[in-house]
């Protein structure tokens, strides 16, 4: 067998009858997306490391007469692999996964819609075991599919590792340490934004950001100019220390900041900081308002 892509070599392989090239270290999912071949995913996100937990991205790989179901978000192809992304066997595994998830999370419409695409009208399993009764139903449990994106984004992107999985098997859940206020949580809500089923929420009330499902409340800071709360205290501290933001700039909300300093990044950074970013070697960057950033 020739060297696989994970050994740092480009490989040629067949993807749904198409002769394609996988770059060094590239997964089947990535190659497929480059070629416009749709593969559904739930626990995958470009910003974080792959997990292989949801099993929705499965594809079938053939070597001669043998074949195997693999997760395309992790599997790096070997030379001359033959990969099929949407055959009957693959679709039946996806249908199986979605039927289970639809039974687990009856309130998650994202799952219900995806399941419908794979022919699951109503799960054949009893769904009443999610909570003992209406009164003690856990909203997180009703929507969370345990994909772990929130855990990974907090750890790998935000760098806080404030939340994690606790428990094993069906007891597994996303939570803060000991289900109490997470000291490490900066209230950035990256976990809320990345959640594919809307299981996590935050609410800004009375100068505080409340992350109900994660048992955590963080103080909000009001913009010095406009007076609107724009970020949490810990979030500002974190951004300040990471970007070496000047105190002046940090005290303003993004919109007021652009108004006060203009569009030049250099102007909001602390004066005594060392040049560390690539743009400081000549490239120029422009600040944008958050609304514009979201649109992009």
């Amino acid at each position: 067998m020739n060297a696989p892509a994970h050994e740092g070599k480009a490989v040629e392989f067949m993807l749904d009858g198409l002769q394609v090239e996988g770059r060094a270290g590239e997964t089947v999912l990535s190659v497929a997306r480059r070629h416009g071949i749709p593969i559904p995913t739930l626990c995958h996100h470009e910003a974080v490391s792959p997990s292989g937990a949801c099993r929705l991205c499965v594809v079938e790989v053939f070597w001669g007469k043998r074949s195997k179901i693999v997760t395309s978000c992790i599997y790096t192809p070997y030379e001359n692999d033959r990969v099929e992304t949407n055959n009957d066997r693959v679709r039946s595994v996806r249908r199986f996964v979605l039927e289970l998830l639809a039974a687990r999370c009856p309130s998650a419409h994202q799952i219900r819609e995806l399941a419908l695409e794979y022919g699951v009208d109503a799960p054949r399993y009893e769904t009443d075991d999610n909570g003992k009764s209406e009164t003690i139903r856990d909203p997180l449990r009703e929507r969370c599919i345990l994909c772990g994106l929130c855990v990974r984004v907090c750890d790998e992107v935000v760098g806080q590792h404030a939340i994690a999985f606790a428990g094993r098997g069906m007891e597994r859940r996303v939570t803060s340490p000991f289900a109490e206020q997470a000291e490490e949580c900066i209230g950035c809500a990256a976990c809320v934004f990345i959640c594919p089923t809307g299981a996590l929420h935050f609410e800004d009330v009375d100068g505080r950001r409340v992350m109900k499902e994660l048992h955590t409340t963080v103080l909000l800071v009001a913009c010095r100019d406009c007076g609107l709360p724009y970020a949490t205290e810990k979030q500002i501290e974190k951004v300040k220390s990471r970007l070496k933001l000047s105190d002046e700039a940090a005290a303003l909300c993004p919109s007021c900041r652009v108004r006060a300093f203009g569009g030049r990044v250099e102007q909001i950074l602390a004066k005594d900081r060392k040049a560390t970013f690539p743009w400081e070697q000549g490239a120029s960057f422009t600040l944008t308002s958050p609304e514009a950033a979201f649109r992009r």
């Binding site: 099993r55 179901i69 595994v93 199986f96 996964v97 289970l100 399993y125 098997g169 069906m170």
Partner: protein, 640 residues
Amino acid sequence: MKTGTIETPRQLAAVRSSARKALLNGHPRIFVGTATCGLATGAQKVLDALHEEAGKASSMRISISETGCNGACFLEPLVDVVLPGQARITYGHVQPEDASGLIEAACAGTVYKKRIIGRIDKEEFLVEGTSKSYRRGKLTGDVKEVPRYAALPFFRDQVHLAMRNCGIIDPTSLDEYIAKGGYAAAAKALTEMTPDQVVDEITRSGLRGRGGGGFPTGRKWATCRKAPGEPKYVICNADEGDPGAYMDRSVIEGDPHSVIEGMIIGSYAVGAHTGYIYVRQEYPLAVKRLRFALKQAEEAGFLGENILGSGHSFTVRINRGAGAFVCGESTALMASLEGRVGEPRAKYIHTVEHGLWNKPSCLNNVETWNNVPVVIARGADWYASIGTQGSKGTKVFSLVGKANRVGLVEVPMGITLRQVVEDIGGGVPEGESLKAVQTGGPSGGCIPAELFDTPVDYESLTALGSMMGSGGMIVMDSRTCMVDVARYFLSFLKEESCGKCVPCREGTSRMLQILTRICEGKGRPGDVELLHDLAQGMTDGSLCALGGSAANPVLSTLKYFAEEYRAHIEERKCPAKVCRALITYSINPEVCTGCMLCLRACPVKAITGERKKPHIIDKLACTKCGLCADTCRSNAIEVA
């Protein structure tokens, strides 16, 4: 005698020959089997009583030591007495009150007349292929009358390679291990062979992983040896978690040095200098024995720098598992070793290339490591002469359940299930009939009695929808409900699923939900199809082997015992009369003598009646505990 540092193979040979003399000559030696199985049946009290009696009878020197389990757990507590110049006599079911008699007989050089099991005539040196008779001159009449141990039905078909020293030597004595030929294979490998030759020898022997997967050990070692990256690691998987299986525990408790020696040889072959033993915390005695053996091996120079003058260095550390079944899976085990949560990862990139701390790692099971010295010492050809075409050597099984003789049995591959269950295990109690045997633990399946002529090897068991697994073998008779068995295994797997991937986490839970309702008489039409769908999805879709094989107990029972499922679902009947919701207890008035025993035994007072008149069970109050049936002396309680 204390062994000093052993720096060369020559020194090892000298220690061996002096230690061997002590084995065969001198004073009577008494061994008490104090593996966990022995301790559970009271071996500690027997040991204490023997020490006390020996102290009283100070006329003669008698050594009393502990030993592991020879496999005959059904005879525990076991005591062996070596009568110098005659034989080694094994006694079973020994009680503390037998101590004085045993000591007296040992001093007199004769046999204690009670509790006799059998006689061993020779001290076997398996790794050398030699043996030495205890006998000097004629046997006394009493000794001669003791039946030969090797001819007993339980032992007749067994071949002890992995268990070569279990129940024979004192596991805390390095001298005894060396006397039996221990560390000779390590000396041979490290000083007379190149690493490639060692790998080649293991490959040619046909040894396959004994932990369940059955991957060819030689091929694993060769890949690990070639894999780029330093340092490399060797790991011993002693996280034995299958319900009813305890081969690894027994091997460690009875012969810890054999595992360490195997790891030394493996580390030399793959080029590793650090080894880890991942052992369950629930095996306190095994952990203790391993710790002690590691210390001995370090002091003797078998671990550390420049082992036996070969230039190879190797150290071993013990890590204790915290009780997760999934940590027996190699990638989860390695994650746990690294201090992370014990969850598996996809194995598209093998652990032999990127394992512990992303370095090449060679992980083998306890029994595999323990077999390595035998292969090296006796040679690949000799080892490969045992077993079948595809499965070489022997396999230790823990034969448990409804068999008459339960314990650890080590048999050559290719022996039939019937031989194991009926000849060695003695079948099931009279009046019951053999129904099935469950092999391979929770990932395995149930094989019906009609197929008992199947040879025990990796491929044959897999073809039947079961697997070799790590070696659990649970015998079931007519009193076992197969739906209930499937439900039990799924409840185990549901508890032990780590919860990372959807098919295993949700699938085992749904399967259990369905099986539970079938057992409760609430099965629905279509449940069998649903189970099949779940099984297919879990097998195809799961991340690791736990979920991938979790459906086996269900699939195999569906395949071979479909009628039982049908009876549960359609007729609301449990043919084996196990599932409580589907059975009723009643008293046959013709047979009942009115003795009032059941009436008194019933914990919920559901039985009423007068003396010498037939009693009646109130079916609404009855909790179906079965105590009345157990107490009734005239078999008047009927279950339907």
